[in-house]
Protein backbone atom coordinates (compact mmCIF):
# COMPACT_ATOMS: atom_id res chain seq x y z
CA UNK A 1 0.00 0.00 0.00
CA UNK A 2 1.09 3.52 -0.65
CA UNK A 3 2.22 5.77 2.15
CA UNK A 4 -0.86 7.65 3.29
CA UNK A 5 1.20 10.34 4.97
CA UNK A 6 3.26 11.57 2.06
CA UNK A 7 2.17 12.62 -1.42
CA UNK A 8 3.58 10.88 -4.47
CA UNK A 9 4.19 13.02 -7.52
CA UNK A 10 1.92 12.48 -10.50
CA UNK A 11 2.19 14.15 -13.87
CA UNK A 12 -0.71 15.42 -15.93
CA UNK A 13 -0.96 13.44 -19.11
CA UNK A 14 -4.06 15.11 -20.48
CA UNK A 15 -6.39 17.90 -19.50
CA UNK A 16 -9.96 18.18 -20.77
CA UNK A 17 -12.20 21.19 -20.23
CA UNK A 18 -15.56 19.52 -19.70
CA UNK A 19 -17.56 22.71 -19.23
CA UNK A 20 -16.67 26.28 -18.34
CA UNK A 21 -16.15 25.45 -14.67
CA UNK A 22 -15.30 21.75 -14.84
CA UNK A 23 -12.17 20.06 -16.09
CA UNK A 24 -10.66 16.59 -16.01
CA UNK A 25 -7.08 15.59 -15.44
CA UNK A 26 -5.63 12.29 -16.56
CA UNK A 27 -2.77 11.54 -14.24
CA UNK A 28 0.10 9.12 -14.02
CA UNK A 29 2.50 8.61 -11.14
CA UNK A 30 5.98 9.77 -11.96
CA UNK A 31 7.35 6.71 -10.23
CA UNK A 32 6.28 3.73 -12.36
CA UNK A 33 6.50 1.41 -9.40
CA UNK A 34 3.95 3.54 -7.58
CA UNK A 35 1.70 3.51 -10.64
CA UNK A 36 1.96 -0.28 -10.73
CA UNK A 37 0.86 -0.83 -7.17
CA UNK A 38 -1.80 1.87 -7.17
CA UNK A 39 -5.21 0.29 -7.18
CA UNK A 40 -8.61 1.57 -6.13
CA UNK A 41 -12.32 0.81 -5.94
CA UNK A 42 -14.96 2.87 -7.70
CA UNK A 43 -16.06 5.54 -5.23
CA UNK A 44 -12.72 5.98 -3.55
CA UNK A 45 -10.94 9.30 -3.59
CA UNK A 46 -7.45 10.79 -3.55
CA UNK A 47 -6.05 13.75 -1.70
CA UNK A 48 -4.74 15.93 -4.49
CA UNK A 49 -2.11 18.47 -3.52
CA UNK A 50 -0.85 21.39 -5.47
CA UNK A 51 2.65 22.54 -4.62
CA UNK A 52 2.52 25.20 -1.94
CA UNK A 53 -1.20 25.84 -2.40
CA UNK A 54 -3.31 23.18 -0.77
CA UNK A 55 -4.67 19.71 -0.68
CA UNK A 56 -8.25 18.66 -1.58
CA UNK A 57 -10.20 15.39 -1.64
CA UNK A 58 -11.21 14.41 -5.19
CA UNK A 59 -12.94 11.22 -6.36
CA UNK A 60 -11.30 8.94 -8.84
CA UNK A 61 -13.45 8.69 -11.95
CA UNK A 62 -11.52 6.29 -14.15
CA UNK A 63 -11.96 2.54 -14.40
CA UNK A 64 -10.10 0.65 -11.71
CA UNK A 65 -8.74 -1.74 -14.32
CA UNK A 66 -7.02 1.05 -16.18
CA UNK A 67 -3.52 0.48 -14.88
CA UNK A 68 -1.67 3.25 -16.68
CA UNK A 69 -3.61 6.32 -15.73
CA UNK A 70 -6.24 7.56 -13.35
CA UNK A 71 -8.66 10.42 -13.89
CA UNK A 72 -10.06 13.20 -11.77
CA UNK A 73 -12.87 15.51 -12.75
CA UNK A 74 -12.86 18.72 -10.81
CA UNK A 75 -15.16 21.63 -10.47
CA UNK A 76 -13.68 25.04 -9.77
CA UNK A 77 -15.18 26.27 -6.54
CA UNK A 78 -12.42 28.02 -4.62
CA UNK A 79 -8.80 28.53 -3.83
CA UNK A 80 -7.26 25.15 -4.57
CA UNK A 81 -9.55 23.94 -7.33
CA UNK A 82 -9.06 27.23 -9.15
CA UNK A 83 -5.29 26.87 -9.00
CA UNK A 84 -5.60 23.24 -10.13
CA UNK A 85 -7.65 24.40 -13.11
CA UNK A 86 -4.66 26.35 -14.43
CA UNK A 87 -2.46 23.25 -14.66
CA UNK A 88 -1.44 21.94 -18.06
CA UNK A 89 -0.15 18.59 -19.35
CA UNK A 90 3.33 18.02 -18.00
CA UNK A 91 2.60 19.81 -14.72
CA UNK A 92 2.76 17.89 -11.51
CA UNK A 93 0.52 17.36 -8.55
CA UNK A 94 0.91 15.34 -5.38
CA UNK A 95 -1.35 12.40 -4.67
CA UNK A 96 -2.10 10.64 -1.43
CA UNK A 97 -4.54 7.80 -1.64
CA UNK A 98 -6.67 6.08 -2.49
CA UNK A 99 -8.84 6.57 0.55
CA UNK A 100 -12.22 5.52 1.82
CA UNK A 101 -14.72 2.81 1.09
CA UNK A 102 -16.06 2.67 -2.42
CA UNK A 103 -19.38 1.50 -3.83
CA UNK A 104 -20.68 -1.98 -2.90
CA UNK A 105 -19.80 -3.48 -6.27
CA UNK A 106 -19.76 -7.04 -4.97
CA UNK A 107 -23.20 -6.70 -3.46
CA UNK A 108 -24.42 -5.20 -6.74
CA UNK A 109 -23.48 -8.26 -8.78
CA UNK A 110 -26.57 -9.73 -10.39
CA UNK A 111 -28.68 -6.75 -9.42
CA UNK A 112 -30.37 -3.95 -11.25
CA UNK A 113 -28.50 -0.75 -10.48
CA UNK A 114 -30.13 2.64 -10.11
CA UNK A 115 -27.63 5.47 -10.29
CA UNK A 116 -28.98 8.84 -9.21
CA UNK A 117 -26.71 11.85 -9.42
CA UNK A 118 -27.03 15.58 -9.18
CA UNK A 119 -24.63 18.18 -10.46
CA UNK A 120 -21.03 17.07 -10.35
CA UNK A 121 -22.19 14.36 -8.00
CA UNK A 122 -21.95 12.27 -11.10
CA UNK A 123 -18.15 12.18 -10.74
CA UNK A 124 -17.86 9.41 -8.17
CA UNK A 125 -20.50 7.44 -10.05
CA UNK A 126 -19.07 7.73 -13.54
CA UNK A 127 -16.44 5.33 -12.44
CA UNK A 128 -19.23 3.00 -11.36
CA UNK A 129 -21.10 3.28 -14.65
CA UNK A 130 -17.96 2.51 -16.63
CA UNK A 131 -17.30 -0.38 -14.32
CA UNK A 132 -20.80 -1.76 -14.83
CA UNK A 133 -20.72 -1.38 -18.59
CA UNK A 134 -17.37 -3.09 -18.97
CA UNK A 135 -18.73 -6.01 -17.00
CA UNK A 136 -22.20 -5.81 -18.51
CA UNK A 137 -23.07 -9.51 -18.14
CA UNK A 138 -22.56 -9.49 -14.37
CA UNK A 139 -25.28 -6.91 -13.68
CA UNK A 140 -28.98 -6.47 -14.42
CA UNK A 141 -30.62 -3.35 -15.80
CA UNK A 142 -28.88 -0.08 -15.30
CA UNK A 143 -30.86 3.08 -14.66
CA UNK A 144 -28.84 6.25 -14.91
CA UNK A 145 -30.56 9.37 -13.68
CA UNK A 146 -28.69 12.62 -13.64
CA UNK A 147 -30.01 16.02 -12.74
CA UNK A 148 -28.45 19.37 -13.41
CA UNK A 149 -29.51 22.85 -12.62
CA UNK A 150 -28.75 24.31 -16.00
CA UNK A 151 -28.42 22.53 -19.33
CA UNK A 152 -24.84 23.80 -19.68
CA UNK A 153 -23.88 22.11 -16.44
CA UNK A 154 -24.25 18.71 -18.02
CA UNK A 155 -20.90 17.30 -18.79
CA UNK A 156 -20.23 14.07 -20.64
CA UNK A 157 -23.39 14.70 -22.67
CA UNK A 158 -22.10 12.52 -25.46
CA UNK A 159 -21.27 9.82 -22.95
CA UNK A 160 -24.87 9.75 -21.80
CA UNK A 161 -26.03 9.46 -25.38
CA UNK A 162 -23.66 6.56 -25.95
CA UNK A 163 -24.71 4.88 -22.75
CA UNK A 164 -28.39 5.31 -23.53
CA UNK A 165 -27.97 3.22 -26.68
CA UNK A 166 -26.61 0.28 -24.72
CA UNK A 167 -28.80 -2.72 -24.10
CA UNK A 168 -30.57 -2.66 -20.74
CA UNK A 169 -29.43 0.83 -19.95
CA UNK A 170 -32.01 3.44 -19.16
CA UNK A 171 -30.63 6.99 -19.17
CA UNK A 172 -32.80 9.79 -17.90
CA UNK A 173 -31.62 13.33 -17.54
CA UNK A 174 -33.39 16.28 -16.03
CA UNK A 175 -32.49 19.94 -16.05
CA UNK A 176 -34.04 22.61 -13.89
CA UNK A 177 -33.40 25.15 -16.58
CA UNK A 178 -33.22 23.28 -19.88
CA UNK A 179 -32.44 25.07 -23.17
CA UNK A 180 -34.25 24.56 -26.48
CA UNK A 181 -32.11 21.63 -27.59
CA UNK A 182 -32.68 19.63 -24.41
CA UNK A 183 -34.06 16.23 -25.43
CA UNK A 184 -34.69 15.11 -21.88
CA UNK A 185 -36.86 16.04 -18.93
CA UNK A 186 -37.36 19.38 -17.32
CA UNK A 187 -37.45 19.45 -13.53
CA UNK A 188 -35.78 17.70 -10.68
CA UNK A 189 -33.94 14.41 -10.99
CA UNK A 190 -35.87 13.08 -8.06
CA UNK A 191 -39.08 13.33 -10.03
CA UNK A 192 -37.66 10.77 -12.45
CA UNK A 193 -37.44 8.15 -9.76
CA UNK A 194 -41.23 7.89 -9.60
CA UNK A 195 -41.22 6.65 -13.17
CA UNK A 196 -39.15 3.62 -12.25
CA UNK A 197 -40.60 0.18 -11.97
CA UNK A 198 -38.24 -1.42 -9.51
CA UNK A 199 -37.71 -5.04 -8.78
CA UNK A 200 -37.42 -4.52 -5.02
CA UNK A 201 -35.67 -7.85 -4.44
CA UNK A 202 -32.96 -7.25 -6.95
CA UNK A 203 -32.19 -3.57 -7.06
CA UNK A 204 -29.44 -1.53 -5.55
CA UNK A 205 -29.38 2.22 -5.76
CA UNK A 206 -26.38 4.50 -5.66
CA UNK A 207 -26.78 8.19 -5.01
CA UNK A 208 -24.45 11.05 -5.20
CA UNK A 209 -24.93 14.79 -5.25
CA UNK A 210 -26.02 17.62 -3.02
CA UNK A 211 -27.37 16.32 0.27
CA UNK A 212 -30.83 17.83 -0.21
CA UNK A 213 -31.09 16.11 -3.56
CA UNK A 214 -29.99 12.81 -2.06
CA UNK A 215 -32.48 13.17 0.76
CA UNK A 216 -35.28 13.75 -1.73
CA UNK A 217 -34.14 10.78 -3.80
CA UNK A 218 -33.99 8.59 -0.72
CA UNK A 219 -37.51 9.62 0.20
CA UNK A 220 -38.68 8.66 -3.28
CA UNK A 221 -36.92 5.32 -3.19
CA UNK A 222 -38.30 4.55 0.22
CA UNK A 223 -41.75 5.48 -1.07
CA UNK A 224 -41.22 2.86 -3.72
CA UNK A 225 -40.47 0.52 -0.81
CA UNK A 226 -36.86 -0.02 -1.64
CA UNK A 227 -35.13 -1.36 1.44
CA UNK A 228 -32.76 1.00 3.28
CA UNK A 229 -30.01 -1.61 2.94
CA UNK A 230 -30.29 -1.20 -0.81
CA UNK A 231 -29.77 2.53 -0.79
CA UNK A 232 -26.17 3.73 -0.97
CA UNK A 233 -24.86 7.22 -1.12
CA UNK A 234 -21.59 9.10 -1.24
CA UNK A 235 -20.99 12.04 1.10
CA UNK A 236 -18.67 15.02 1.24
CA UNK A 237 -17.24 16.77 4.25
CA UNK A 238 -14.25 18.92 4.97
CA UNK A 239 -11.19 16.63 5.00
CA UNK A 240 -7.61 17.31 5.90
CA UNK A 241 -6.01 13.89 6.22
CA UNK A 242 -8.13 11.41 4.27
CA UNK A 243 -7.81 8.49 6.67
CA UNK A 244 -9.73 9.28 9.81
CA UNK A 245 -7.23 11.18 11.85
CA UNK A 246 -7.87 14.89 11.50
CA UNK A 247 -11.43 14.65 12.79
CA UNK A 248 -13.00 17.10 10.36
CA UNK A 249 -15.27 14.90 8.31
CA UNK A 250 -17.21 13.24 11.09
CA UNK A 251 -20.92 12.77 10.73
CA UNK A 252 -22.12 11.49 14.07
CA UNK A 253 -19.78 8.68 14.96
CA UNK A 254 -18.75 8.08 11.34
CA UNK A 255 -15.66 9.35 9.62
CA UNK A 256 -16.72 10.13 6.07
CA UNK A 257 -13.17 9.59 4.82
CA UNK A 258 -12.69 6.07 6.15
CA UNK A 259 -16.15 4.73 6.99
CA UNK A 260 -17.33 6.35 3.75
CA UNK A 261 -17.45 8.38 1.62
CA UNK A 262 -19.88 5.73 0.37
CA UNK A 263 -22.37 4.75 3.06
CA UNK A 264 -25.31 2.48 3.24
CA UNK A 265 -28.25 4.75 4.00
CA UNK A 266 -29.16 2.84 7.15
CA UNK A 267 -25.75 3.62 8.63
CA UNK A 268 -26.14 7.35 8.42
CA UNK A 269 -29.92 7.72 8.43
CA UNK A 270 -29.91 9.30 11.89
CA UNK A 271 -27.63 12.12 10.88
CA UNK A 272 -28.33 12.71 7.23
CA UNK A 273 -30.11 16.02 6.93
CA UNK A 274 -29.84 16.71 10.64
CA UNK A 275 -28.61 20.26 11.02
CA UNK A 276 -25.05 20.35 12.33
CA UNK A 277 -23.87 16.97 11.10
Amino acid sequence: MLDAHLPHAAVIDRRVQESPGIFSLRLQYVDTHVQDIFEFQPGQFNMLSLFGVGEVPISIVSDPDDSHFFDHTIRVVGRVTEALSRLQPGDRVGIRGPFGRGWPMAQAEGQDVVVVTGGLGCAPLVSVIRYLLRRRDRFGDIHIMQGVKHEDDLIWRRQYEVWSREQGVNVQLAADMPGKEWPWQQGLVTELINTLDLNLEKTISMLCGPELMMLAAIAQLRDLKLDDQRIWLSMERNMQCGFGQCGHCQVGPKFVCKDGPVFCYSDVADFLGAKGF
Binding site: V53, G78, A83
Partner: protein
Protein backbone atom coordinates in the same frame (compact mmCIF):
# COMPACT_ATOMS: atom_id res chain seq x y z
CA UNK B 1 15.38 44.65 -15.31
CA UNK B 2 12.58 42.23 -15.63
CA UNK B 3 9.45 44.17 -16.48
CA UNK B 4 7.11 41.23 -16.14
CA UNK B 5 7.40 41.34 -12.39
CA UNK B 6 4.16 42.25 -10.69
CA UNK B 7 3.99 45.85 -9.53
CA UNK B 8 3.46 46.66 -5.88
CA UNK B 9 2.41 49.92 -4.28
CA UNK B 10 2.20 50.83 -0.62
CA UNK B 11 -0.22 53.61 0.19
CA UNK B 12 -0.71 55.40 3.44
CA UNK B 13 -3.77 57.01 4.89
CA UNK B 14 -4.42 58.06 8.46
CA UNK B 15 -2.13 55.85 10.55
CA UNK B 16 0.96 55.67 12.67
CA UNK B 17 3.10 54.08 9.90
CA UNK B 18 3.54 50.99 12.03
CA UNK B 19 2.15 48.64 9.42
CA UNK B 20 4.51 49.93 6.74
CA UNK B 21 7.21 49.16 9.22
CA UNK B 22 6.12 45.58 9.03
CA UNK B 23 7.71 45.82 5.60
CA UNK B 24 10.59 48.13 6.45
CA UNK B 25 11.42 45.91 9.39
CA UNK B 26 11.73 42.85 7.19
CA UNK B 27 15.48 43.27 7.35
CA UNK B 28 17.29 41.53 4.54
CA UNK B 29 14.05 40.12 3.15
CA UNK B 30 13.25 43.72 2.26
CA UNK B 31 16.11 43.57 -0.20
CA UNK B 32 14.81 40.24 -1.48
CA UNK B 33 11.43 41.70 -2.27
CA UNK B 34 12.48 43.63 -5.41
CA UNK B 35 13.54 40.31 -6.94
CA UNK B 36 9.91 39.33 -7.17
CA UNK B 37 8.00 42.59 -7.39
CA UNK B 38 8.56 46.07 -8.77
CA UNK B 39 7.93 48.44 -5.93
CA UNK B 40 6.48 51.34 -7.83
CA UNK B 41 5.21 53.34 -4.92
CA UNK B 42 6.29 53.27 -1.29
CA UNK B 43 6.78 56.88 -0.28
CA UNK B 44 8.35 56.08 3.02
CA UNK B 45 10.99 53.90 1.42
CA UNK B 46 11.59 56.18 -1.56
CA UNK B 47 9.72 55.10 -4.70
CA UNK B 48 7.04 57.67 -5.35
CA UNK B 49 4.49 57.08 -8.10
CA UNK B 50 1.19 57.23 -6.26
CA UNK B 51 -0.83 57.13 -9.47
CA UNK B 52 0.84 54.19 -11.20
CA UNK B 53 -1.23 51.18 -12.17
CA UNK B 54 -0.20 48.26 -10.06
CA UNK B 55 -0.98 44.60 -9.56
CA UNK B 56 -0.99 44.66 -5.78
CA UNK B 57 -1.63 47.60 -3.51
CA UNK B 58 -1.05 47.49 0.20
CA UNK B 59 -3.08 50.14 1.91
CA UNK B 60 -2.33 51.32 5.41
CA UNK B 61 -4.43 53.75 7.39
CA UNK B 62 -8.02 54.80 7.71
CA UNK B 63 -10.09 57.24 5.71
CA UNK B 64 -10.73 60.46 7.56
CA UNK B 65 -10.76 63.41 5.16
CA UNK B 66 -12.67 64.18 1.96
CA UNK B 67 -9.33 64.09 0.13
CA UNK B 68 -8.74 60.57 1.47
CA UNK B 69 -12.05 59.46 0.00
CA UNK B 70 -11.04 60.67 -3.43
CA UNK B 71 -7.56 59.22 -3.15
CA UNK B 72 -8.66 55.75 -2.09
CA UNK B 73 -11.00 55.59 -5.09
CA UNK B 74 -8.04 56.44 -7.27
CA UNK B 75 -5.93 53.78 -5.60
CA UNK B 76 -8.66 51.24 -6.12
CA UNK B 77 -8.94 52.11 -9.80
CA UNK B 78 -5.22 51.74 -10.24
CA UNK B 79 -4.86 48.46 -8.40
CA UNK B 80 -5.77 44.99 -9.57
CA UNK B 81 -5.66 43.54 -6.05
CA UNK B 82 -6.05 45.67 -2.99
CA UNK B 83 -4.98 44.57 0.47
CA UNK B 84 -5.97 46.60 3.48
CA UNK B 85 -3.30 46.16 6.15
CA UNK B 86 -3.68 46.81 9.82
CA UNK B 87 -6.35 47.89 12.23
CA UNK B 88 -6.66 51.39 10.75
CA UNK B 89 -7.30 50.13 7.21
CA UNK B 90 -9.50 47.24 8.24
CA UNK B 91 -11.36 48.76 11.16
CA UNK B 92 -10.75 52.49 11.29
CA UNK B 93 -8.07 52.08 13.94
CA UNK B 94 -7.81 53.54 17.38
CA UNK B 95 -8.62 56.94 15.88
CA UNK B 96 -12.12 55.66 15.11
CA UNK B 97 -12.83 56.38 18.75
CA UNK B 98 -13.54 59.84 17.39
CA UNK B 99 -16.63 58.40 15.66
CA UNK B 100 -18.17 57.86 19.06
CA UNK B 101 -17.58 61.36 20.31
CA UNK B 102 -18.52 64.88 19.61
CA UNK B 103 -15.77 65.53 17.13
CA UNK B 104 -16.30 69.27 16.90
CA UNK B 105 -15.85 69.69 20.59
CA UNK B 106 -12.73 67.55 20.40
CA UNK B 107 -11.27 69.52 17.57
CA UNK B 108 -11.96 72.71 19.45
CA UNK B 109 -10.22 71.33 22.48
CA UNK B 110 -7.03 70.54 20.59
CA UNK B 111 -6.85 73.22 17.92
CA UNK B 112 -7.38 76.92 18.40
CA UNK B 113 -8.83 77.27 14.88
CA UNK B 114 -10.45 73.92 14.22
CA UNK B 115 -12.07 75.25 11.04
CA UNK B 116 -8.70 75.39 9.35
CA UNK B 117 -8.59 71.63 9.47
CA UNK B 118 -10.58 69.64 7.01
CA UNK B 119 -11.86 66.32 8.20
CA UNK B 120 -14.69 63.91 7.56
CA UNK B 121 -15.71 63.84 11.16
CA UNK B 122 -15.03 60.12 11.30
CA UNK B 123 -12.40 57.52 10.69
CA UNK B 124 -13.43 54.53 8.63
CA UNK B 125 -11.98 51.38 7.17
CA UNK B 126 -10.98 51.12 3.51
CA UNK B 127 -13.73 48.62 2.81
CA UNK B 128 -16.35 51.18 3.73
CA UNK B 129 -15.28 53.19 0.69
CA UNK B 130 -14.01 50.76 -1.93
CA UNK B 131 -13.93 47.03 -2.57
CA UNK B 132 -11.11 45.39 -0.66
CA UNK B 133 -9.74 42.05 -1.88
CA UNK B 134 -8.02 41.01 1.32
CA UNK B 135 -7.84 42.30 4.84
CA UNK B 136 -4.84 41.63 7.03
CA UNK B 137 -5.62 42.45 10.60
CA UNK B 138 -3.49 43.52 13.50
CA UNK B 139 -2.18 46.68 15.04
CA UNK B 140 0.33 46.37 13.53
CA UNK B 141 0.02 43.59 10.96
CA UNK B 142 2.72 41.02 11.31
CA UNK B 143 5.32 40.76 8.58
CA UNK B 144 4.90 37.01 8.15
CA UNK B 145 1.25 37.44 7.30
CA UNK B 146 2.05 40.12 4.74
CA UNK B 147 4.80 38.02 3.19
CA UNK B 148 2.61 34.90 3.17
CA UNK B 149 -0.12 36.85 1.40
CA UNK B 150 2.35 38.21 -1.17
CA UNK B 151 3.83 34.74 -1.67
CA UNK B 152 0.38 33.36 -2.42
CA UNK B 153 -0.51 36.20 -4.75
CA UNK B 154 2.77 35.86 -6.62
CA UNK B 155 1.91 32.21 -7.10
CA UNK B 156 -1.48 33.29 -8.43
CA UNK B 157 -3.63 31.96 -5.62
CA UNK B 158 -5.80 33.69 -3.11
CA UNK B 159 -4.19 34.07 0.28
CA UNK B 160 -5.55 32.08 3.19
CA UNK B 161 -7.38 34.09 5.79
CA UNK B 162 -6.86 33.47 9.49
CA UNK B 163 -10.24 32.55 10.90
CA UNK B 164 -9.60 31.13 14.33
CA UNK B 165 -9.87 32.92 17.63
CA UNK B 166 -6.77 33.87 19.57
CA UNK B 167 -7.39 31.22 22.23
CA UNK B 168 -6.52 28.47 19.76
CA UNK B 169 -3.22 30.13 18.93
CA UNK B 170 -2.55 30.71 22.59
CA UNK B 171 -3.09 27.06 23.44
CA UNK B 172 -1.00 25.88 20.51
CA UNK B 173 1.87 28.01 21.77
CA UNK B 174 1.52 26.35 25.15
CA UNK B 175 0.62 29.66 26.75
CA UNK B 176 -1.42 29.52 29.90
CA UNK B 177 -4.74 31.31 30.05
CA UNK B 178 -4.36 34.54 32.04
CA UNK B 179 -8.07 34.73 32.68
CA UNK B 180 -8.27 31.34 34.33
CA UNK B 181 -5.07 31.65 36.34
CA UNK B 182 -5.15 35.32 37.24
CA UNK B 183 -8.60 36.60 36.52
CA UNK B 184 -7.19 38.95 33.87
CA UNK B 185 -9.86 40.54 31.66
CA UNK B 186 -8.70 38.91 28.43
CA UNK B 187 -10.24 39.83 25.06
CA UNK B 188 -8.53 36.91 23.30
CA UNK B 189 -11.72 34.91 23.43
CA UNK B 190 -13.33 37.18 20.85
CA UNK B 191 -10.17 38.23 19.02
CA UNK B 192 -8.89 37.01 15.68
CA UNK B 193 -5.71 34.94 15.86
CA UNK B 194 -2.55 36.05 14.09
CA UNK B 195 -0.24 37.65 16.64
CA UNK B 196 1.11 34.38 18.13
CA UNK B 197 -0.68 35.17 21.36
CA UNK B 198 1.82 37.87 22.27
CA UNK B 199 0.11 39.36 25.27
CA UNK B 200 -0.85 36.14 27.02
CA UNK B 201 2.66 34.84 26.46
CA UNK B 202 3.88 37.85 28.45
CA UNK B 203 1.33 36.98 31.10
CA UNK B 204 -1.10 39.80 30.33
CA UNK B 205 -4.59 39.98 28.94
CA UNK B 206 -5.11 40.43 25.19
CA UNK B 207 -6.54 43.86 24.37
CA UNK B 208 -7.67 42.78 20.93
CA UNK B 209 -5.42 44.65 18.55
CA UNK B 210 -6.36 42.09 15.87
CA UNK B 211 -10.04 42.92 16.21
CA UNK B 212 -13.10 40.70 16.39
CA UNK B 213 -12.92 37.00 15.63
CA UNK B 214 -15.48 35.37 13.37
CA UNK B 215 -17.60 34.42 16.32
CA UNK B 216 -18.09 37.11 18.93
CA UNK B 217 -20.26 36.18 21.83
CA UNK B 218 -19.89 39.54 23.50
CA UNK B 219 -22.72 39.03 25.93
CA UNK B 220 -21.12 35.97 27.50
CA UNK B 221 -17.74 37.66 27.66
CA UNK B 222 -19.14 40.84 29.15
CA UNK B 223 -20.87 38.85 31.82
CA UNK B 224 -17.69 37.01 32.64
CA UNK B 225 -15.61 40.18 32.76
CA UNK B 226 -18.09 41.74 35.11
CA UNK B 227 -17.91 38.71 37.34
CA UNK B 228 -14.16 39.42 37.50
CA UNK B 229 -14.96 42.77 39.02
CA UNK B 230 -15.04 45.09 36.00
CA UNK B 231 -17.71 47.74 35.77
CA UNK B 232 -19.86 47.74 32.63
CA UNK B 233 -18.00 50.89 31.57
CA UNK B 234 -14.64 49.18 32.04
CA UNK B 235 -15.87 46.29 29.90
CA UNK B 236 -17.17 48.75 27.31
CA UNK B 237 -13.72 50.38 27.13
CA UNK B 238 -12.24 47.01 26.23
CA UNK B 239 -14.56 46.61 23.27
CA UNK B 240 -14.22 50.26 22.34
CA UNK B 241 -10.46 50.24 21.96
CA UNK B 242 -8.25 49.58 18.93
CA UNK B 243 -11.05 48.37 16.65
CA UNK B 244 -14.01 50.24 18.09
CA UNK B 245 -15.53 50.80 14.64
CA UNK B 246 -16.05 47.12 13.85
CA UNK B 247 -19.74 46.32 14.18
CA UNK B 248 -19.43 43.51 16.75
CA UNK B 249 -17.23 45.53 19.06
CA UNK B 250 -18.98 48.84 18.53
CA UNK B 251 -22.35 47.32 19.28
CA UNK B 252 -21.06 45.41 22.27
CA UNK B 253 -19.46 48.51 23.71
CA UNK B 254 -22.42 50.78 23.14
CA UNK B 255 -24.80 48.24 24.59
CA UNK B 256 -22.79 48.20 27.76
CA UNK B 257 -22.85 51.97 27.89
CA UNK B 258 -26.62 52.19 27.59
CA UNK B 259 -28.11 53.74 30.67
CA UNK B 260 -29.95 51.13 32.75
CA UNK B 261 -33.66 51.00 32.09
CA UNK B 262 -35.58 53.20 34.44
CA UNK B 263 -37.92 51.48 36.81
CA UNK B 264 -41.00 52.94 38.45
CA UNK B 265 -39.81 53.02 41.95
Amino acid sequence: MNSTKPKLAVHKFSSCDGCQLALLNLGESLLELPKYVDITHFAEAGPNNPNAKVDIALVEGSISTPADVERIKQVRENSAYLIAIGACATAGGLQALANLADRDAWMAAVYAQPDAIETLGSSSSISEHVKVDLELHGCPVNSQQVIAALADLLAGVNPVIERQPLCMECKRKGVVCTMVTKGEPCMGLVTRAGCSALCPSLGRACYSCYGPAETVNDGALAQRLQSLGLTPEAVARRFLFITSATPPFRDAGLRLRQPPLETDE
